[in-house]
């Protein structure tokens, strides 16, 4: 069965229409991957699942799925969190 494409919100569409940064206008999450050892996520909505091999992070309409080995929630605040370890993949769904 083919997966249904994600529907974009109005703010996200406006940001895309006017070429504005979606993270600032539409509150979309911002991901910063440093090599394969550190992932920084801004504007997250909390952790959904946590395991040394896989971490699921809520980000509004998106769910960020981080896979790897020895994953560790290095730091976490209301706005951002940092995951360290050996990151193999980052998936969005």
């Amino acid at each position: 069965m083919e997966e249904k494409p994600r529907r974009r919100g109005p703010a996200e569409r406006v940001a895309q229409l006017f070429g504005l940064p979606a993270d600032a206008v539409a509150g979309m999450p911002r991901l910063e991957l440093v090599g394969d050892g550190q992932l920084r996520v801004e504007r997250h909505r909390g952790i959904l699942a946590y395991d040394p091999a896989e971490i699921h992070i809520g980000a509004g309409r998106l769910t960020i799925r981080v896979r790897g080995t020895g994953l560790e929630l290095r730091a976490m605040t209301r706005q951002e969190l940092t995951v360290t370890g050996r990151i193999v993949s980052v998936e969005l769904e």
Partner: protein, 394 residues
């Protein structure tokens, strides 16, 4: 860096039993920061929170369904918390820290660099008079004012900087370039003879030549005058006068120099008696602590020998020993040959100051003993420049 921050703010490592994700999300929403969160094999979680956050996290867990277990504490606040009832220990540590902080600012060594003409001793003496010495408290020194005062006191120094690096006081010095002697070319002057002699050559570039080759002159005679007469034209009976100039030229002459030096044929020499006395003094931060008892030196004639035993690492601590060795004097005849050689060397040095060695044509020595004195006479014939410029008037 992370470790230093952890050490400074203090941390508490705890185990969370229950739904860890919810607990961490709640902590984040409440602004309670945590770090180093891991999930263990048994399903429990470990994380670290700061020392100040820990009571709030504990209250948060108490309100929910999580169970927190304190595993260990670390960092400075945790250490202070454990020592809260041990006032003496805490006070002692604080006193030690304060003492180390204060003593590390005390000057232990003063290093001078960059000086060539002005000796280090002279600079250190000036600095010591203004308080820069081993034992001085560094922050109490007004280095800028001291630099200005020393520069004013020692005109050879053009720039000085005092840098306090812990217990080392580094003094950087730059010496100025000596000002050249200014010659006033417009001021009238004539050239006179420095020594008596017979003129062998004279070359006048400016002024009135007053002597000719072959003339005999005495010391102080004018050789080239500063007054120049104007030549009157033909059929003119008046006096055209003249003008004052700064005489210039070179005058060479044969000169003769007679120098004498004498030495007694017998002299006194020291003979050690073998008796000696040593007094010890401890020098600590420039102050002296004498170990020996009061009392003078019991010898009439003695040599004083100072020995220093300094501490390592340039610490301003030294043990000084003053050894006084008694001696007696006795008369001893002087070896005439050695005395003549010594006197000849002395006379040659004096002759070199009067005439360059390359211009000395002939040298004769004559030695004679009379009235217990050995006298050596040097007779030198030279050909040298004898003209020196002497300015007119005051």
């Amino acid at each position: 860096m992370q470790r230093a921050a952890d050490l400074a703010r203090g941390w508490v490592e705890l185990r969370v039993t229950g739904e860890g994700e919810e607990f961490f999300n709640l902590c984040a929403r409440r602004g309670l920061g945590f770090w180093a969160a891991r999930k263990g094999a048994d399903g429990s979680w470990t994380c670290r929170v700061s020392f100040l956050t820990w009571p709030k996290v504990r209250a948060l867990a108490g309100a929910g369904a999580w169970e927190l277990t304190l595993l260990r504490r670390g960092g400075l606040p945790g250490l202070l918390w454990r020592l809260r009832y041990r006032w003496a220990l805490l006070a002692g540590a604080l006193v030690c820290l304060a003492a180390v902080g204060a003593l590390s600012r005390v000057v232990l060594t003063v290093q001078v660099s960059g000086n060539q003409r002005v000796s280090t001793g002279v600079i250190l003496s000036q600095l010591r008079a203004r308080g820069v010495r081993p034992g001085a408290f560094g922050p109490g020194l007004d280095t800028r004012r001291i630099c200005h005062q020393v520069i004013l006191e020692l005109p050879e120094i053009s720039w000085m900087s005092i840098n306090l690096r812990g217990t080392v006081c580094e003094v950087l010095v730059r010496e100025g370039t000596p000002r050249p002697e200014l010659v006033e070319e417009d001021r009238p002057a004539h050239i006179v003879a420095k020594y008596p002699g017979i003129i062998t050559a004279i070359h006048t570039t400016r002024g009135q030549q007053l002597v000719e080759r072959g003339d005999t002159v005495a010391a102080g005679d004018t050789l080239i005058g500063s007054w120049v007469d104007f030549v009157e034209p033909l059929y003119y009976d008046g006096d055209m006068g003249g003008m004052l100039v700064r005489a210039g030229g070179r005058v060479r002459a044969r000169t003769w120099h007679t120098l004498r030096a004498a030495i007694p044929l017998s002299g006194e020499e020291k003979v050690l008696t073998g008796r000696e006395k040593t007094r010890w003094t401890l020098e600590l931060f420039g102050r002296e602590v004498k170990f020996s008892q009061k009392g003078g030196i019991p010898y009439e004639r003695y040599d004083k020998i100072l020995t220093y035993h300094t501490a390592p690492f340039h610490l301003p601590i030294a043990l000084r020993g003053e050894t006084c060795r008694e001696y007696e004097t006795r008369t001893r005849p002087v070896d005439p040959q050695r005395a003549v050689r010594a006197l000849k060397g002395e006379l040659e040095e004096r002759l070199a100051a009067l005439c360059p060695p390359s211009e000395v044509r002939r040298v004769d020595y004559r030695a004679e003993e009379r009235d217990g004195l050995l006298t050596v006479t040097l007779l030198a014939e030279c050909e040298q420049d004898i003209g020196v410029t002497v300015e007119d008037g005051p």
